[in-house]
């Protein structure tokens, strides 16, 4: 741990008068280059730190966070939190801070990312723009790198420290009415291949020429990994153990039951080195190899520490997301159904009915219509109203899982009868 953070930890340890405390430090160093319409429009660099302390006198709590590291600021932070706790009302759901635990060692930081120079990042942008110019199109996106250090320290002995690096590059190409996007995000800059990303982007652009009008209907759909990631993220968000136990979500009383489709599993895992795997959560829940859903059976759900204590459960927190895939190619998927759509991405997904688990959202960045095993043409964007856990029961086949975000790996899936309900007029 950086000496500067150790000093903060020691200061807090020495000066907190409260019965209990939970200290979290999140330090971040970022460089973000944003471009649009073939030029850089924003360009940002700097370091931040967030020092957050939660204290408790018996079961009365108070919290304060600051971004200054000098002793006066730390003293003021502790004072504010403690004063708040003293006058606060007791919290009947208070749980004492986490105790010392064995924390998994994970390599989330790569020198290739940390050492990336701003000049290299601008060079990536310039090459991306050059491709836009070559395609007689506009290109917009973001090139970013981040380095983070996270420290948790509690009165009861939990001591955690980890760091991570992240590189990201996205490109949205717009030519006349066609828009399409690729994005890359990884802890390791060395795995980034700009030429490959550009080729992929150009391939998508070419496939979307001459779009034709298509009315909404229930139809088989091939969801590419970026689309699936958006869609199932919301399902994961609704898989909350307490809310489910209290009858508020579709997952109520579903633990141990085959509530999802047999082909579908959902994990947080350390077994895939390319995924960022944080070793513990904000609330000091140590990450453990977890199947949330195994072959359709709900094994567990994210469970906060209070609810775990109440119900004699193990607290659980997702630390990355992995949906194991299969081996089917898009060509093979297209042959499995008479006709259908291929969706690149979704956009603006929102819950419609929490109890049913129903969501709405739009397609974005390219939709293709296929028939008789072949892509026929691009179509307009569509709106869906769908229930993600229900769609897992309609998965016909899956492709290989790929990295679609630094902490998410998803496959392409073929889902039957996807419920599109409206279309765009552009």
């Amino acid at each position: 741990m950086n000496a500067k953070y150790e000093k903060i930890v020691e200061y807090v340890k020495k000066h907190v008068k409260a019965d209990d405390y939970n200290l979290r430090i999140a330090a971040r160093n970022s460089h973000e280059t944003r471009f649009a319409q073939n030029a850089i429009t924003q360009h940002i660099a700097g370091e931040n730190i967030d020092i957050d302390i939660e204290v408790a006198f018996e079961n009365k709590t108070g919290r304060c966070s600051i971004n200054q590291t000098d002793e006066n600021a730390l003293a003021d932070m502790i004072k504010r939190a403690e004063e708040m706790a003293v006058v606060n009302q007791p919290d009947p759901e208070y749980v004492e801070s986490a105790s010392a635990q064995s924390i998994p060692q994970v390599k989330n930081t790569l020198d290739s990312t940390i050492n990336l120079a701003p000049e290299q990042m601008v060079d990536i942008v310039i090459k991306s723009i050059a491709n836009g110019d070559k395609q007689a199109a506009t290109v917009s996106g973001m090139t970013e790198k981040h380095y983070m250090e996270i420290i948790n320290s509690t009165k009861n002995g939990f001591q955690g420290h980890y760091d991570l690096s992240e590189f990201g590059h996205s490109m949205t190409l717009k030519k006349d009415q066609i828009e399409t996007k690729v994005s890359f995000s990884s802890k390791d800059f060395n795995t980034f291949q700009l030429d490959k990303e550009i080729a992929h982007l150009n391939e998508q652009l070419a496939s979307l020429s001459n779009p034709q009008a298509f009315d909404a209907e229930k139809i088989p759909v091939i969801l590419r990994p970026a689309a699936l990631m958006e869609f199932y993220w919301f399902m994961m968000w609704m898989m909350n153990r307490r809310q489910s136990d209290e009858g508020m979500t579709a997952f109520t009383d579903q633990i141990g039951k085959k509530f999802l489709g047999e082909k579908f599993s959902l994990q947080s895992t350390f077994t895939i080195p390319e995924l960022i795997s944080v070793p513990y959560s904000w609330d000091s829940v140590v990450s453990e190899e977890t199947y949330w859903v195994r072959n359709g059976v709900v094994e567990t759900m994210p469970t906060p520490r209070y609810w775990a204590k109440m119900k004699n459960l193990k607290p659980a927190s997702p630390f990355n997301v992995y949906v194991p895939g299969g081996s089917a190619s898009e060509e093979e998927m297209m042959k499995m159904v008479p006709r259908g759509l291929i969706v690149n991405r979704f956009w603006y997904i929102r819950p419609v009915d929490m109890k049913k688990g129903e969501l709405t959202g739009m397609t974005r960045d390219g939709v293709l219509y296929f028939e008789d095993g072949k892509v026929k043409h691009a179509v307009n964007n569509l709106r869906f109203n769908e229930i993600p856990h229900d769609t897992t029961r309609r998965i016909l086949t899956m492709g290989e899982s790929i990295l679609c975000d630094s902490s998410v790996k998803m496959p392409t899936v073929l889902v039957d009868d996807f419920n599109f309900v409206d279309k765009t007029t552009f």
């Binding site: 319409q37 924003q42 360009h43 931040n48 919290r63 006058v87 009302q89 919290d91 996007k181 009858g247």
Partner: protein, 480 residues
């Protein structure tokens, strides 16, 4: 503060074409009460400075939380270096900035009772009373009271000679009751979205009475029928609901940076392109939208924006026609405008300012019309209160909105409560179907404090407002 001068002197000596510094301290007090458990009682303080340098038609922005002379100078240098790098990837001669003069001014949100000075106990006691009241109702399984108070203290200096001292603040109480019954779960929420004022607003709201209403309506809602078949119906929308509708379908499409395609990779672009200015029938003749950063208690009202441009009031849609955009100093010249409308805002010191929605509202109807008269004049329709599910495409054309509470209207009367109502429409169909707006007596503001936009993402705030309004032939139905 000396750092203003140190930064501006350094920027000038390094040859900046323009530069500014924004020293910002943001303080947030959050009290989150879940049932009777105080899940979070916190004060968050973030302070630092962001320095923008404009050089050779390109921006560089660097930030720091270290208040030392050398660090300020180093941050200016970093912003300059970044601007020079940015200039390697510019289009033509690069960006230009709209003309602006210098100002020496200050602004402070008018507050009678500062919530930051109020004893915590007073706030928590009220919150506990509200949640207890809602939990007394059989069937209410979860109650949430979320109270947010936020203050931004900014010092701004630019190489134009501007020096600004601005303090803005707002308060936002949000109460939700969730009923679980008969295999369903439904929530009802009181959320006016925040207001730039003090605790005096909380006293006016009578939240214990609101709590009873929210709990009772959550129970009514969980037992209510659904609208199954989607068909064209008449909609009456309350001001709270309209706040979000206009935010998504008018506010975002008329941000000039989106119109220019600057948000193409993330938040999206806009159908309301410049050739439509002055001729595009965005809404019916009675539809008038005003951008107004001078609005009293408005969340975007701050005296000046983060470009150092004074707050203004202007028509965005006039008599149904697209009139103008919300703009900044770097977006306005792109369509030939001489001056910015002052819509450049950053959330935190470490954010580069972006083109934001101003306070934006629908002007009330000019003829005397009460909500009761509007309902009495409607044979068959749905009245929607509050905000619910909302989703719109990245061009801001096609959308689907829900709501928080629904009544079926039959023969001019509220006939029965409903749940899970959704409507689908698009621009310009929706605002052109508006055939009645209640008069100014029924105009209410509605704040948005969580407008996500930009990369890295920023959370902006602004106030909307409307009187209840009626829309004809909108596709309305129930969820699956």
């Amino acid at each position: 503060m000396k750092y203003l001068d140190i930064a501006m002197d350094a920027a000038k000596s390094m040859g900046a074409d323009y530069a500014d510094i924004r020293i910002q301290k943001s303080t947030t007090e959050t009290i989150y009460l879940h049932n009777l458990s105080l899940k979070n009682t916190s004060t968050d303080i973030t302070e630092g400075y962001g320095i923008r340098v404009f050089k050779d038609g390109a921006w560089g922005f660097a930030h720091s939380n270290i208040f030392k002379d050398d660090q300020v100078k180093a941050t200016v240098k970093r912003a300059m270096d970044i601007a020079l790098l940015s200039a390697k990837a510019k289009k033509g001669a690069g960006l230009t900035l709209a003309a602006e003069r210098s100002y020496i001014a200050s602004y402070r949100t008018p507050v009678k009772c500062d919530p930051f000075n109020l004893p915590l106990k007073e706030k928590v006691d009220l919150m506990l009373e509200v949640n207890r009241m809602m939990m007394n109702y059989e069937g209410i399984k979860q109650t949430v009271f979320y109270l947010l108070a936020h203050k931004d203290e900014k010092l701004f200096a630019s190489t134009l000679g501007t020096r600004l001292d601005i303090t803005t603040q707002f308060i936002n109480p949000m109460i939700t009751a969730t009923a679980v019954m008969d295999g369903d779960s439904q929530s009802r929420t009181f959320d006016e979205g925040g207001r730039a004022t003090g605790w005096e607003w909380i006293n006016e709201l009578n939240l214990t009475e609101k709590a009873k209403q929210i709990a009772e309506e959550a129970i009514i809602k969980v037992k209510a029928d659904t609208l199954k078949e989607e068909k064209p119906r008449t909609l009456i929308l309350d001001p709270n609901h309209l706040g979000l509708t206009m935010h998504e379908s008018v506010g975002h499409p008329t941000e000039l940076d989106r119109v220019l395609g600057w948000e193409a990779d993330y938040a999206g672009i806009s159908f309301a392109t410049p050739e439509k200015l002055g001729n595009y029938k965005y809404g019916s003749d009675i539809v008038n939208f005003v951008g107004d950063n001078t609005l009293c208690e408005g969340l975007a009202t701050a005296g000046f924006d983060d470009d150092g441009v004074p707050n203004q009031r202007w028509f965005i849609i006039k008599d149904g026609i697209l009139n103008e955009y919300g703009s900044t100093r770097d977006t306005a010249p792109q369509i030939g405008l001489v001056h910015s409308r002052g819509c450049s805002r950053a959330t935190n010191y470490y954010n580069q300012p972006i083109n934001r929605i101003p306070n934006l509202y629908l002007l009330p109807g000019t003829k005397e019309l009460t909500p009761g008269q509007l309902i009495a004049d409607t044979d068959d329709g749905v009245y929607i209160q509050g905000r619910g599910s909302f989703s719109i495409d990245q061009h801001r054309v096609n959308f689907q909105f829900g709501g928080d509470f629904f009544w079926e209207i039959k023969n001019g009367k509220l006939h029965r409560p409903l749940k899970k109502v959704l409507y689908k429409s698009c621009n310009p169909e929706f605002w052109n179907s508006c055939d009645a707006i209640c008069d100014e007596r029924y105009w209410q503001p509605f704040g948005v404090v969580n407008c996500g936009k930009g990369q890295p993402n920023q959370t902006g705030r602004m106030t909307h407002g409307a009187s209840p309004a009626r829309f004809r032939n909108i596709r309305v139905g129930g969820s699956q």
